[in-house]
Symmetry: C2
Subunit: 343 residues, 2 copies
Amino acid sequence: MTFLIIFGGSSFEHEISIVSAITLKDKIKKHNLKFVFVDANRNFYLINKENMKSKYFANGEYKKATKLEITKGGFKYQKGFFKKDIFVEFEVAVNLIHGRDGEDGKIPGMLEFFDIKAITPNIEASVLSYNKVLTKDFAKLRGVEVIDYEIITKPKTKFVFPIIIKPARLGSSIGVSVVKSQDEFNYAFDVAREFDDLIIVEPFIKGIEEYNLAGCLADDWIFSKVEKVEKKEFLDFEKKYMDFARKESETNEIEKNLIEKLKENFKKIYKDEFENALIRCDFFYKDGIIYLNEINPIPGSMANYLFDDFDNVLENLAKNLKKEKEIKIDYEYINKIQMAKGK
Amino acid sequence: MTFLIIFGGSSFEHEISIVSAITLKDKIKKHNLKFVFVDANRNFYLINKENMKSKYFANGEYKKATKLEITKGGFKYQKGFFKKDIFVEFEVAVNLIHGRDGEDGKIPGMLEFFDIKAITPNIEASVLSYNKVLTKDFAKLRGVEVIDYEIITKPKTKFVFPIIIKPARLGSSIGVSVVKSQDEFNYAFDVAREFDDLIIVEPFIKGIEEYNLAGCLADDWIFSKVEKVEKKEFLDFEKKYMDFARKESETNEIEKNLIEKLKENFKKIYKDEFENALIRCDFFYKDGIIYLNEINPIPGSMANYLFDDFDNVLENLAKNLKKEKEIKIDYEYINKIQMAKGK
């Protein structure tokens, strides 16, 4: 199949998305890939495969690539003196924009509006996973436990330290701090406020374990290996992404029973909400209880490293994408009014 | 000012949106209006003001109008042999698409993506008001009461009748039924299922009063008159919209104290979530308690009939629109990797 990878975006994770796309270029072997880059100013560019190198974007060379417009069914550009419309050919698009644009609903909405078949969370799923307050509420509604939290609107005292302070609407641990004392609090609050006006605080629970599980519903449920996240105190943005030697999963060391429970919780979250997306759920585990930490509706490099046959996962999902409900518009109501008016 | 009214959409309320736009054409006197129609297939058309008649859309004549493409900053078409780009000139767009596309986040996301200044709910606000389950959760989070509900996934028994059955994701009372007995239930359930897979049931509370209040936060809070909705048992879609003689508000008959309480509840819902939108909150009132029924983030004809000086409200809001946070992308992270690699 031919996949069109859409990456970049006006997002704090713009650069992560570029790295994600470059990684996929190497990891996807069976399928043909094309690349659409969304630059910081939200222009679309068609990027040749051989130019898929991080430097090409960092130094602005990408501006020489063919500029595209989004339109019904896909992307196009105009060629030659007669400005002939040329459409980029592909079968299924992949929304690989992390953070704003990709995960806040903008690109998902545009893909649906322009009737572009795509592996992507839909708008509602995006909004629910983008805002941590909504994620927690949604998880509770689905019968999945979450860590308690408090919304804070201004610096305040009387926390039981240590706590974690997070901007509500960002992924990749950006703007997140572990705070151990009131002294540290104000600075951490200001850092978080740089990224969002909605700030939440959670207790920092010592000795809590973290497990990641990716998957999707294609012709049937597909689950990745379970990744146990080994970390020191806390992985911040830089550590998380600069660390190329991040430990891979060793599912066989994890209890079968726990894996089954993680899958059950994953299904509760995914079902009827994340269809058409390949997501990664990050869970906490302590004293026999599984908590949802966050939903990554577009995980880094699509969490390909957690799957044994990623080519196949992608193809299976692509072949089982669900379409938006059709709405028939017959002007029955306006015709009735016209009749009533005797016109 | 020149406003660009965007209406139509692939929505069960497509025709309502046309009527809304035609109504605004007559109600807005001080400002210049232009019109962009989104047809059932999601093509954009620039509609001449003199063609703003419902028949023009119902009989397909609109297809002769100039087709537009959405692009950075607005809408454009190409003119003449040399296909010169012509941009539609306006100052502020108004998202007037009710239901899908307008209120589910698609058009709001596109307007933000393409940096088009607009009176519209944003994506998150759209999703929260589009899905009634999320609306109720959100209201509770904000300290506003709602009527209890139950999500039902298949026909079941054991309700205490009468109940109201609603598809979760539609406005304008479409697919909503009042059910008085188990006999009526299955049919009503099937009707609702035609519109959404997510169905909710609420108790039907006799003698509950309904009050609508529209408003926005511009340079300061702007509130409409309070409309007391006089209805028989229940206004379904047809009754609600075919009834041109719908009773207008008579605020002076409503207790001052109640009006103040409604405004307080409106503010709790609107603040930091519905900015840039002119919304109408529909409240219930019984035994001294105010309940949020639903949020209309794009009310019919912008609820203009509830305002004394609608031209002024629109202008005030348009002049106080908030822009999306800017994100600076400096390729610091990629440059670090390049450095680390020694390239």
